[in-house]
Symmetry: C2
Subunit: 83 residues, 2 copies
């Protein structure tokens, strides 16, 4: 089994209202040192070990998992994972 | 500026309907090798360099950012980040 770890984050300059809300809450709770929060997504995909999926990941991210207009994505692949 | 990267994932055994939906969509698009998808959150916190925030991160995660009943969290700290 291969494990693909995908990070999807908003591009720089794109407004992040969810992050702003989290930052506001943290500040209200007394964590004043927190200057900015950006919220993204993290996905773990488990795919068949034999599958030559690496070339398809880029495709999956661009087509379905991320919105390339406003989001960046990065991924790492871990092989030989037992689920 | 310190950058704190937090990964929040559902605990093993906790149902992940969002992940199931993503997996279904990927399979429908022809990516049949994808066996399971787990969706989590990824947050980046930017905090003041001088702040001794490390001890507070655990607290922030448990109190606000994650739900410790059903979610696990992990974090890494990167120092000297220019935003």
């Amino acid at each position: 089994m291969k494990k693909i770890m995908i990070h999807i984050t908003l591009k720089e300059g794109v407004l992040d209202p969810q992050g702003k809300a989290v930052q506001g809450s943290l500040n209200t709770l007394g964590y004043d040192a927190v200057q900015e929060v950006r919220v993204g997504k993290y996905m773990e995909l488990f795919v068949e070990e034999s599958a030559d999926i690496e070339q398809q990941i880029e495709d999956m991210c661009a087509k379905l998992l991320a919105n390339p207009v406003i989001e960046n994505y990065q991924y790492t692949v871990e092989e030989g994972v037992t689920q």
